[in-house]
């Protein structure tokens, strides 16, 4: 919990990692990719305040003590959700698997929620694995990484026929939160890898499920917003938005936040620090202190204490059934509805 000026904020960090990108874990022959991947992440850390930067050696593999201190002791995080990223083509034991995360989650069962994953290209075996994982880890969510390589395939989309049984299985197993990575990716080579139209389709087809678009489709925020206004079960995962912009590009951050508050709305935005790319401490404190820099932003929705509480934790607590201490709750009220305007003029669909 974070307290400032008498206000108490329950912090649910929806996007965290416990990874191993050390050279010992690089796949032989794929060292270039394994090294490039973690260096790329490390460059993003450079967008945060200088006193939060780590040397690359620590960044490749950090300890349990680092995690506990940076998240819980100093980072104000009450509960965090692990979002695994396997990348087994590049990292022998995986970059950040559910098994790795589970070693920590088992020690802090009240504070760490473990999300699973699936990949439609694994077929029947993948479905069985999902069932097993759901039982073992009591999954309420999964992280899908559509750009991941698999047996010569370099990506898939949520619309693929092969993915549909997995959505059905999620509904059956009570896995209601589908986090989709839509952010900087590489494949397929000839397309724009940030296309969110597949989320649009499945969000309509599976109304029982919530779709959290991680990184709000950055750098295609507009495509994400136009889609999210049409789909009541689509949420904005703010990982990278806060870490990548709040410190490095404060005016752009203000505009992006204003647009998200307008199009998506404060009830559907979820805080994610994206540790260990960025530590949560400065992000939580910064967001609570934040407001629009001047009145040129007056057309955007207000950013109130209630907005901060919802975004930092209350919205995600609702999705994951996490109990929030009385003192951090908001009185029951209607949320500020977001725009439901039609984007056809810009998209040229009309």
């Amino acid at each position: 919990m974070y307290e400032k000026d008498g206000e108490k904020y329950f912090v649910l960090d929806t996007h965290t990692h416990f990874w191993d990108a050390s050279p010992e874990n690089w796949v032989e022959g794929a060292e270039e990719y394994a090294k490039g991947w973690i260096e790329c992440f490390h460059a993003y850390q450079g967008l945060g305040p200088p006193d939060t930067h780590w040397p690359i050696e620590k960044f490749q593999k950090y300890s349990e003590e680092d995690f506990v201190r940076d998240m819980f002791e100093e980072g104000h995080v009450d509960v965090a959700i692990f979002q695994p990223t396997y990348l087994k083509s590049w990292y022998r034991n995986g970059f950040n698997t559910a098994q790795q995360d589970a070693t920590l989650a088992e020690k802090y069962p009240d504070r760490l929620i473990l999300n699973g994953r699936w990949d439609p290209r694994e077929g029947e075996a993948g479905l069985r694995q999902l069932e097993e994982d759901a039982k073992r880890y009591r999954l309420k969510g999964v992280k899908l990484y559509t750009a991941e390589w698999h047996n010569g395939s370099r990506g898939w989309t949520l619309k693929d026929d092969a993915a549909q049984p997995f959505f059905e299985k999620c509904i059956e197993l009570g896995i209601t939160n589908i986090h989709v990575h839509k952010g900087p990716t590489i494949w397929p080579l000839d397309k724009d890898a940030f296309d969110v139209s597949d989320v649009d389709r499945v969000a309509t087809d599976y109304q029982e499920l919530n779709f959290i678009v991680e990184h709000v489709g950055l750098p295609r925020i507009e495509d994400f917003c136009f889609m999210a206004t049409q789909e009541p079960n689509v949420y904005a995962g703010l990982a990278v938005v806060i870490g990548g912009l709040m410190h490095a590009r404060p005016r752009f951050f203000a505009k992006v936040m204003g647009e998200l508050l307008f199009w998506v709305g404060e009830d559907k935005m979820l805080f994610g620090a994206d540790y260990a790319i960025w530590e949560p401490k400065w992000q939580v404190e910064g967001l609570v202190d934040w407001n629009y820099p001047d009145d040129t932003f007056s057309d955007y929705p207000a950013f109130t204490n209630a907005s901060k509480k919802k975004i930092l934790g209350l919205n995600a607590a609702k999705l994951y059934g996490v109990e929030v201490p009385e003192e951090c709750r908001l009185p029951v009220e209607e949320g500020t509805p977001a725009a439901r305007e039609d984007a056809e003029l810009v998209e040229g669909r009309g």
């Binding site: 460059a43 000839d190 724009d192 925020i221 505009k255 003029l345």
Partner: protein, 231 residues
């Protein structure tokens, strides 16, 4: 004889297709040398080693084409450095090959559709900047919708809009409407506010993306970055 300034001038006409900014002002040109014999060697760099290969290829290929169009130029070498698909891209660009040549079997075709998609976004974003300036200056939506191309100010956004319209086959003669939808239809006064609401989101997205790219480049190469460019 072509000199370094000519080459830099040519490179200034090469745009990052995603950000719609020249690769020179984005500081993607690391070095540019012209030998006594007129041979040109250009080195390019990007914000991360894993920037999308499609856009990386387009910038390298466009850079080579732009320099080759100069009169009296010798051999032209364009090298994308520090990129995970640099070898493939450099080999294909070096022999004047296509994107499919660079990545055989990994692409269904060329990048024309992708380029066009981003030109449309760029046109929307630039028009929104022009439009907002007019409204801030006291023009009404009716005034703005009635503007012709001839009424546009002489500034980089307006000039770029005309270039983009030419690429997109949208007429831009003096009498053509100044503000158009991606298909070329004029924006009606009654639609202008709503159009602007969505257009400014496209613009914010583009500008924020450019901001992240600049920050990453700065971190990667330790260069100074004076201030935020827009917003």
């Amino acid at each position: 004889m072509t000199d370094r300034a000519d080459v830099l001038g040519a490179l200034g006409t090469v745009y990052d297709p995603e950000l719609d900014e020249p690769i020179t002002s984005l500081r993607f040109v690391t070095s540019c040398d012209v030998s006594a014999a007129g041979d040109v060697d250009v080195r390019l760099r990007l914000p991360t080693p894993q920037c999308a290969p499609n856009f990386a290829y387009l910038m390298a290929a466009d850079a080579r084409d732009a320099v080759l169009r100069l009169p009296e130029v010798g051999t032209v070498t364009v090298v994308l450095e520090d990129h995970y698909t640099g070898d493939e891209i450099n080999a294909a660009v070096g022999r004047g090959g296509t994107f499919a040549d660079a990545f055989p079997g990994e692409t269904d075709g060329e990048l024309d559709a992708l380029r066009e998609l981003f030109r449309r976004k760029a046109l929307v974003a630039r028009q929104s900047r022009l439009c907002e300036r007019l409204l801030a200056g006291g023009a009404t939506v009716g005034d703005v919708a009635a503007r012709r191309v001839a009424d546009l100010p002489d500034n980089p956004d307006a000039r770029r809009c005309i270039e983009l319209r030419a690429h997109l086959d949208i007429r831009s003669d003096e009498d053509a409407p100044a503000f158009v939808l991606p298909g070329g239809e004029p924006i009606a006064a009654s639609d202008l506010r709503q159009w602007l609401r969505t257009a400014s989101l496209v613009r914010t997205s583009l500008e924020a993306n450019g901001g992240i790219c600049r920050s990453l480049l700065r971190v990667r190469y330790g260069i100074t970055d004076p201030e935020e460019v827009a917003a």
